[in-house]
Symmetry: D2
Subunit: 366 residues, 4 copies
């Protein structure tokens, strides 16, 4: 209830601080019989892992996941799956100097107001490190969705500060450290990040995530709409400040005749709605965008206060990403997977015996 | 669990169809001792009500709310508050003609795929009529927040199709049917809506909502961040396709030095983050924007299929808003109130005895 | 979260006070396609209804239920089903005299300590009247379970004060006002209740409830065991102080060789465990017992205090049952139905695609 | 949602199998600022630990708990507290022989029907080993309740098969391996257990647990009554088949004049109700009893079936308790602590600002 559990039927309960002994989670509600081992989870973790290129934080974490329960003889049993990732490269001394001050735009001040205490080591619970756990849990959901329902989830970066990246070639996404599907933009991105690091500054990003082959019928009509739950999921990622489903904020300027997705026996004729109507999936590709603010941990001096309330200036050293958005693609994919998995189970609970009379039309979006 | 309950401690369970006998909700978790009568709820309902100007749907609903429980001798008792609104102006015959077809970009097709059946009268549960219930429940939260914590919530329209409306004068918002704080734009808005109605088309909108005097400390660090719950709340409103907290999608283009909200003993020096850091309120004004797609119910012919899967064309008659966003300001305010109320109770549950050692700084945003 | 919702997937949210305008509930999560009208619910309500014989409270309530939503053209649609029962025979003046005093063993004192206020009219929310709502909601679950799964739920009284009633003839249960399956005991029961009424006293009761044809596999292994949820459900009925599954409290004196239910290809050889092993149904008959304390509302004078804390004596007049247990059989059946329905949906969510390799053996208990 | 989380505001999510690498839990919702280290938890774990006397299972588990998160500089931070207990003395070979058969009255058969697979090693998730986690989590709740509210929780055995144990001397409870407060009965208990072990049989038990100094006002009026949640909690302990609050099942035979707890300015005059009225604590001692069935794992041959459905006979070897109830006292105490802690937070959420006008009377039960 303190907000560390995500999902109502496929429930992920997350724990752990950036600089404590370990992070991890309990995944409760996974159906039995899914083939699962650490090898299914590790690749997604490796994609999010820090220290993999010079463009991201240099913290070196192996991020080795250990499955503690819920799997027997290589298959899930239907009981809770506990995942453990030991922290190995904490350097708390980096944080001693900011112990008495509040870093601008960090969670420091809000935490102390909320809890009266805070774990000042690397942001504690507000660190992006926590997202490793989401990626690990998401990998389980993703495997289930892919193997049982044929759902494919993928994401990429669309904008990094002033640089826009088109989706030119999905296969390029994993050939560069930016999750960029527009290979021609990669050298520009490299130069941008290099320059930011020199200037002690950071930059925001916009990411795209989609799920293909989602069956129609996932989502609930009112509060727990599929799009509302996606918005919750994506906005719960550190530093995300905006979420768009389908055409997103641009719908404000659109006409009904332009926006509505017409239908034909051969499939939908457009997908402005992001594959969701009335909060329920239509069978089209479900897609969303999310914007991540520039890292607040920058070395440029900033005005702030200390724990006595006095004015001070702060320079956040330590090992930080000049663009935290660069590692956020796998996190968005994971959150998409968790939302779809949860709604798949919910759909099955209420409607397992529904036999739609109406023929399904193709997604029409390939 | 079918997604008709909102909130974890201040729980609103909504029921009712557009063309059934009644809509309503149960509000569970309201603290005892709050002075409450129908007169506290009706004004907000009246602001959202259809048929109040020629720019919105001509359905005439009195939207009279009745409190069925939870209030005794003019005060809440701590037990569930049931609210009932009878439907009085249903015209189901408008819908007979669309019984066998799916309207483009409506929930029709998704519903039939999910449930195998659907209530075709006016969209049933997917109708914007359901939002009256949110406004009613939100009015209770709003009264508590205002009386006990001094929190003020207000909203307005910022964009209607091609027309941008600045926030020039908050007092103007209730002097025009558009919730527009920019009086000079009102004649343009009138002409736009008139033209759309003639053309059988519709248009989208972008709305703004803010809460002032929110105490610091509301929100949870990980999944149930205040911003994530706001995103969930706003995206759960019919037709919303994008949600922004603070600078929203624009953060993708920003630098860290530009975006971070510096602090001083006299208050915050900026509020790019929308009053939320690390998912927790900072004491600044909490604000958000949400974009609403153009009404799908338009009279312009659209391609679709019927229940046999055959191609057809559909014209949605009935009484519809050319811009459903025009009535959505009170809904956004209500959802903001529900989220803050829920997190206030959550904060109190866990941290009622916390005495922050650090002096609080002013919001700095007035 | 204030505890007025029961169930996780088949969710019943109850509202209403004994002497307010109405009681009712919202049932969220009912699968679509179930034939449903008021006529399916009314008979169970009538069985619990007050004023039906001289042995129970003389309050005359029609207890007419109205379905406000979630049913279209005679079938459930998958959306929330709101049920409304107007109160018609409140006599609040009976309660004016106890406004300033606390009745012994009533909820009065606990309520005022909890909420600071209380609805003193007939106990408000703590009245047994609230259970009408459970019976109404349970009737929906019961119909689904019977029609779709063949599950039959039934109950009877086993003890009223000093009188033990065997299960001699199930068909007799509905031929007397005591839900007694032992026709020979009925005259004794009549004499007992008559005497109690004369003496201004009351008496406790023990009830039995069973569900036959429950499929194996319902229930969760750890906290939400089927037996734990049944215990929660039955203990949540007003005045219940003890719950037993299978052999119940008697297991304390038993040997393992005596208690364990052995198995054979022809079925289970005994059912000491109440049809539940490890928290999960086995396919045997699920059964439970619950003990209801004697009504606290008696006319015999009792020592108490008033709102100033001073000593006083209280005589509870009004219209009360000399044995509140006499009307509690339908409530226990309803709670059994709600628990099974919830676990059926939960089972389906997680394990809809499980195909047990092992042959099922018969219940072996008929 | 698969039932491995207990509590709504103080949430314990349990994981782990008897013979997997580890068991543990995540405790979410603990208020910040509570002094906490492993040393606060270990003593309770040691009281429940196997292998401590010849009267219980000879499995030797150190049951060393490790705190992985949520504690910083010796105090809770308000973030999730993860607890880990490695399994060290698994002997899975004991279970190979029962791999293809179902042990009578074990969860084996129900699991395979539910999940299609099962972890046959030591019962997997249905093992009493899981309760170590509850004791660990309960120790945190207990410390908070004791330090902040002065609540004291304690329990003892009242019956072991034919032997009844009175509460003669609370200080004796920890001087014998049976949690017996009646020192004169200890030799009898020793002889009974010795005899059972020789005979390959087992026996049931009845336990008592109480909480003193519980403030009035904890509990919710309808479904989530304090007694209903206690019943859920205690019935969720392995092998429990009956739960009683206050006079329990005996109320069926009682008169209202006999059962009702009268009140005076000097306190309550009796406590038949177990300290709970209308589902809400009264300020009296809260107490309950729970009956535990005889261990099903006995060496006496029992009739059963194998995985092909054929008849067989089973003898359960391995290291088992002749009376699993003997180690269940700390578990009941832990569950009582979890329930009270949860309701304390719930009470605070809704009613933190309630100032009861009425003077509180003493518990009157010491």
């Amino acid at each position: 209830m303190s907000g560390n559990t995500f999902g109502k039927l496929f429930c992920v309960t997350s724990f752990g601080e950036s600089h404590g002994p370990a992070i991890g989670c309990v995944v409760d509600g996974c159906p039995p019989g899914l083939a699962l081992s650490e090898a299914d989870i590790q690749p997604d973790l490796d994609r999010r892992r820090p220290g993999t290129s010079k463009y991201v934080t240099q913290r070196k974490e192996a991020d080795r996941v250990e499955i503690l329960s819920g799997v027997f003889e290589g298959r899930t049993t239907g009981t809770p799956i506990a995942l453990l990732i030991r922290n190995t490269d904490q350097r708390s001394y980096d944080y001693e100097k900011i112990k008495q001050v509040f870093r601008p735009n960090h969670a420091d001040y809000a935490y102390i107001q909320k809890y009266g205490v805070r774990d000042h080591r690397g942001g504690g619970r507000s660190s992006a490190r926590e997202t490793a756990v989401r990626v690990a849990a998401g990998a389980i959901a993703r495997k289930y969705l892919r193997e049982r329902l044929g759902i494919e989830i993928r994401g990429c970066v669309e904008q990094v500060g002033p640089i826009e990246c088109a989706i030119v070639d999905w296969s390029a996404v994993h050939t560069n450290p930016f999750f960029c599907a527009d290979p021609a933009r990669v050298p520009e991105l490299e130069r941008l990040i290099d320059r930011l690091r020199r200037e002690g500054d950071s930059v925001g990003a916009r990411l795209y995530v989609e799920a293909r082959n989602v069956p129609p019928g996932l989502g609930e009509p009112v509060f727990d709409r599929l799009d509302a739950d996606l918005a919750h999921a994506l906005m719960s990622i550190n530093a995300v400040k905006g979420v768009e489903i389908g055409d997103g904020m641009r719908v404000a300027a659109m006409r009904g005749t332009e926006h509505r997705d017409e239908m034909s026996p051969d499939g939908f004729l457009a997908n402005h709605s992001g594959g969701i109507a009335g909060g329920i999936s239509t069978g089209q590709t479900v897609y969303a965008r999310y914007a991540i603010k520039p890292t607040s941990s920058i070395t440029a001096l900033g005005k702030s206060i200390d724990e006595t309330g006095a004015a001070t200036e702060v320079r956040t050293t330590g090992r930080h990403d000049p663009c935290v958005g660069l590692r956020a693609t796998p996190i968005g994919e994971a959150m998409m997977a968790l939302v779809l998995m949860d709604h798949w189970l919910r759909q099955r609970a209420q409607n397992a015996d529904v036999k739609p009379a109406t023929p399904r039309i193709p997604a029409g979006d390939d």
